[in-house]
């Protein structure tokens, strides 16, 4: 097959992925509305069932072995973070998540086809970069489910991905061409890929921080009209998950900055020159460094640090789109 045909298949796959993600978004939205219904009925039906310390009977604790020891007191680990109401996934959520997986497979095959068409890594112009970046976002979202169930973020993630992919397909598309000499480097593979990885983690972290802020408002007695929040983890749990996701993103971002500096040294003869893209990468790094400090500062934990995470992710998106398109600088590889 010729590169142009492969690329044409890739474009078809991208549009298909967008369609599947839209369906997933709808299903996630329906899931949230069923959660609202569940939360309202649960609020009338039952009181709180908080995990607590329990004196476990010796018969239970030591039953399976010829024990010399017997448990008399222990703090049982907290129950599933979503509490009693949303412990089980709704049918909509299961459908939505399955659609995300299907969409992702199609999305990744679009990437592979584009890579085969151009004979290089598929992140060398803005169209490809958005395509890869969104695939990584979904990949990180799926990966995190293995560790902790944050499927309630599905609507947020699919919405961002659909918007970005749509924007890229309609406005940023360029046919496959040879690789710009400035990009002919192993660092293209490393630096840009790790940057997209960091972006994926920041996207999920940003979503968790938004959920945390909403949840904190609800816990303070507000947002009664958003009942599905009751089925989300507490704001504190959300903050902890967000923190752990964001620090991974921060580590990747630090590496991005360093790899970029090494590449800049090879390509432009200086490792740091305050090019517009460098400035924004630096700003993002400093904002997330601020976020990590805020988490450790009295009076800044909680909502204030969550705002920093959201500002940080907004800056990432700004860097991803506006800086690439409209700011003059050396990182002019949009292909547009």
């Amino acid at each position: 097959m010729t590169p142009a045909t492969l690329d044409a298949y890739s474009v078809v796959a991208v549009y298909s992925a967008i369609a599947v993600y839209v369906l997933a978004f709808i299903a996630f939205a329906l899931d949230l509305s069923t959660r609202s219904a569940m939360a309202q009925s649960a609020a009338t039906a039952e009181g709180s069932a908080s995990p607590s310390r329990s004196a476990v009977s010796a018969a239970v604790a030591g039953s399976s072995r010829a024990a010399k020891t017997a448990v008399i007191d222990r703090v049982s680990p907290p129950a599933a973070p979503t509490g009693s109401v949303a412990g089980r996934a709704s049918r909509f959520q299961r459908t939505a998540y399955a659609l995300v997986i299907v969409g992702w497979v199609v999305h990744v095959s679009a990437l592979v086809l584009r890579g085969l068409a151009s004979g290089r890594v598929p992140w060398s112009d803005l169209y490809e970069f958005v395509m890869t970046g969104t695939a990584i976002m979904v990949g990180v979202f799926v990966l995190i489910q293995l560790w902790r169930d944050v499927k309630f973020l599905g609507a947020y993630i699919t919405a961002i991905v659909v918007l970005l992919l749509g924007l890229a397909s309609v406005n940023f598309y360029v046919p496959v061409g040879p690789l710009n000499p400035a990009l002919q480097s192993i660092w293209l593979v490393i630096h840009v890929f790790v940057a997209t990885l960091g972006t994926g983690f920041f996207a999920v972290g940003g979503g968790l921080s938004i959920a945390q802020l909403l949840q904190a408002r609800r816990e303070a007695g507000g947002l009664a009209r958003v009942p599905f929040l009751a089925t989300f983890p507490s704001s504190e749990v959300l903050e902890n998950i967000a923190y752990r996701v964001i620090v991974v993103g921060f580590a990747f971002w630090t590496f991005t900055l360093m790899a970029g500096a090494i590449w800049a040294e090879r390509a432009w003869g200086r490792y740091w020159g305050w090019d517009t893209k460098e400035v924004w990468t630096f700003i993002i790094w400093v904002v997330f460094a601020g976020y990590i400090h805020a988490r450790a500062t009295r009076g800044w934990r909680g909502s204030r640090s969550a705002w920093l995470a959201i500002i940080g992710f907004t800056a990432v998106m700004f860097n991803f789109t506006v800086v690439n398109l409209f700011f003059k600088g050396l990182h002019a590889y949009t292909g547009l």
Binding site: A4, A58, G62, A66, A67, K68, T69, A70, V71, I72, D73, R74, V75, P77, P78, A79, W147, R148, P175, N180, P181, A182, Q184, W187, S234, E236, V237, E239, N240, A251, T254, F255, M258, A261, E265, R266, W268, G269, R270, Y271, W272, G273, W274, T276, V279, I283, V286, V287, A289, G290, I292, H293, R295, A296, T297, R298, G299, W300, L308, G329
Partner: protein, 569 residues
């Protein structure tokens, strides 16, 4: 997978026995720090003397809150550096901005926004941040070095309120339980200390070590760039095919010395461009995409002969600690200017700088001597031209061989003072039209010159003639000497390594206590942990530790004094 929330509350301080020696030292407003009661301090110290004020400001400066605010200011302060062209990265953009918005330029320039990153206010932010950082890490470093040699602190009297508390009874005697606990904790990498009836254990010292390395390396990178960077220099030079460059200041087109570098810092070498053939690929939409830029250079250091090397965009050439980078390329039309009698007053290739991807190029030819007046030519060179109202535009980066659109050199002619006699450096690639009169070209009534290779033309007013004899290629190179990258890389790796340790190694304390039973009572064993910093898996780890300890105890041979029948309570 259970998620634990307790360690993320401000830490419960062990109620006794655990001195702060083992804790990483933190500013007082750190969530793990010891809060200072400002109200009490205010009451007992109503008047501050000078030293008191200094101490007060120092404590403010080294607090977490100040560091945080300085970080956010640093991020905010960097924003204008991307919105407004910077003298360091885009000097032409600054000139254009000044020409287009002279009024706003004055305001922004007085705020230092065109050199944001060297402006006094930006420098003030990062210097304060680094002073705050140094003030924070020095005491922490000393404290951590002490902690590395100290024993884990005494076991708190009451473990109930700590993370993952669990209490079991066992038929094993207390001394055996303690011995088992000790060996188990040691195997898991804990540092252990035995106190009466208990083992106190701590691990994760690398977290604080990594944190300190991270922050010290940040200071290191700042010093590297700020101090050692001043020993470098950078310069640019345009090299036409066959032309040789010698590394002395006078041979550069532009040269920027570092603060501590001078002509003696320049390593002696020579550089010659042998050939340059770029490759482009035709795109379906008719445009051309660059595919490969490779320049064949010859280089030579004193006492040796020429060696050939290939210079590419991502592959600089290194000569004696100095690096040469390929920045740009273009065409250099070769022209010969003769006076009315036919003697040559100027001859050679002139680099025309490309304005777009298809190498529509502009350039200036200055002829200061030999003609009746000083003469300058300014105009376009198009390798594959189409005519547009203002001149020509190129449709391809290759030299056209189509007889209907051969490469063209379009020139306007100026006479007057070229400004070369004032002893002031003048840009060779731009024309300052002050003091010059345009005598041919756009809007003069006299047509400009339209030359193809081999053409010659008479200059207006009988000044002489110009001939377009051929076309050469040129490349522009950046020549850098920078002693810092190796140090910067070292510090960058320390930053990354330190960061990973400080984010992902949990620092935690664990206690296992065995209280011997009185008389026929069984031994009671208690377990609990305490997080030092972010440690979301502590509860699970304590539970696993307890589980393993109990399995060990269960696996021990029965001691004769035990009464298996009584073991259940």
């Amino acid at each position: 997978m259970a998620f634990r929330t307790r360690s993320d509350q401000p830490q419960p301080q062990p109620d006794d026995g655990s001195s702060a020696v083992g804790d990483p030292l933190r500013p007082s407003d750190h969530v793990d720090g010891t809060p200072v009661d400002d109200a009490v301090a205010g009451v007992t110290q109503p008047r501050l003397n000078l030293l008191g004020y200094l101490r007060f400001f120092w404590r403010q400066l080294t607090s977490m809150r100040t560091a945080l605010i300085l970080l956010l200011l640093l991020a905010l302060g960097a924003v204008p550096g991307s919105l407004v062209p910077q003298r360091s990265s885009d000097p032409n953009g600054v000139i254009a901005y000044q020409a287009n918005n002279p009024d706003t330029f004055k305001i922004l320039d007085s705020l230092g926004l065109f050199s944001t990153f060297t402006s006094p206010w930006f420098s003030a932010i990062y210097l304060l941040l680094f002073v705050s950082l140094v003030g924070c890490i020095i005491p922490r470093l000393k404290h951590h070095l002490d902690a590395l040699r100290a024993k884990p602190p005494k076991t708190p009297a009451r473990l109930e309120r700590l993370v993952g508390f669990q209490s079991v009874t066992t038929t094993t005697d207390a001394a055996t339980a303690i011995a088992e606990a000790r060996s188990l904790l040691r195997r898991q990498g804990y540092r252990v200390a035995e106190y009466e009836n208990s083992v106190s254990a701590e691990r994760g010292y690398l977290r604080e070590t990594g944190n300190l390395i991270f922050h010290i390396a940040l200071v290191g990178i700042l010093l590297t760039v700020g101090v050692f960077g001043s020993f470098g220099y950078t310069g640019q030079r345009i090299l036409v095919q066959g032309e040789a460059f010698t590394n002395v200041i006078g041979d550069y087109d532009s040269f920027e010395p570092g603060r501590f570098s001078d002509e003696h810092s320049l390593q002696p070498f020579q550089l010659r461009l042998d050939s340059f053939e770029p490759k482009y690929a035709a795109q379906p939409d008719g445009s051309w995409a660059p595919e490969d830029f490779a320049a064949d250079l010859s280089t030579r250091v004193p006492g040796s002969s020429w060696t050939t090397q290939t210079l590419k965009v991502n592959a600089p050439v290194e000569i004696g600690g100095t690096e040469v980078y390929l920045l740009g390329n273009g065409f250099a039309p070769i022209v010969t200017v003769k006076d009315p009698t036919g003697s040559v007053v100027y001859s050679g290739p002139v680099a025309f700088l490309s304005q777009d991807a298809n190498l529509t190029s502009t350039g200036v030819i200055k002829v200061p001597d030999g003609l009746a007046k000083q003469v300058a030519f300014q105009g376009f060179f198009c390798p594959t031209p189409v005519t547009i109202p203002t001149g020509c535009q190129s449709l391809s980066p290759y030299l056209s061989t189509n007889a209907k659109a051969l490469p063209v050199l379009q020139l306007s002619v100026f006479t007057g003072d070229l400004g070369l006699d004032k002893g002031v450096a003048v840009n060779a690639y731009a024309l300052n039209e002050d003091g010059l009169t345009k005598i041919a070209g756009f809007r003069t009534g006299v047509p400009g010159l339209d030359l193809h290779v081999g053409d010659s033309a008479e200059l207006p007013n009988g000044l002489g003639s110009i001939e377009f004899t051929g076309i050469d290629r040129f490349v522009s190179v950046d020549i850098h000497h920078d002693p810092t990258p190796a140090f910067a890389l070292l510090f960058a790796l320390l930053i990354l390594g330190g960061l990973l340790l400080s984010l992902f190694v949990p620092r935690r304390r664990v206690w296992i206590k065995a209280i011997p039973g009185r008389g026929k009572q069984l031994t009671r064993v208690e377990y609990a942990g305490l997080a030092r910093g972010e440690d979301p898996t502590l509860a699970r780890s304590v539970a696993e530790l307890a589980e393993r300890h109990q399995q060990h105890l269960d696996g021990l041979p029965d001691a004769p004094a035990n009464h298996p029948d009584d073991q259940r309570t």
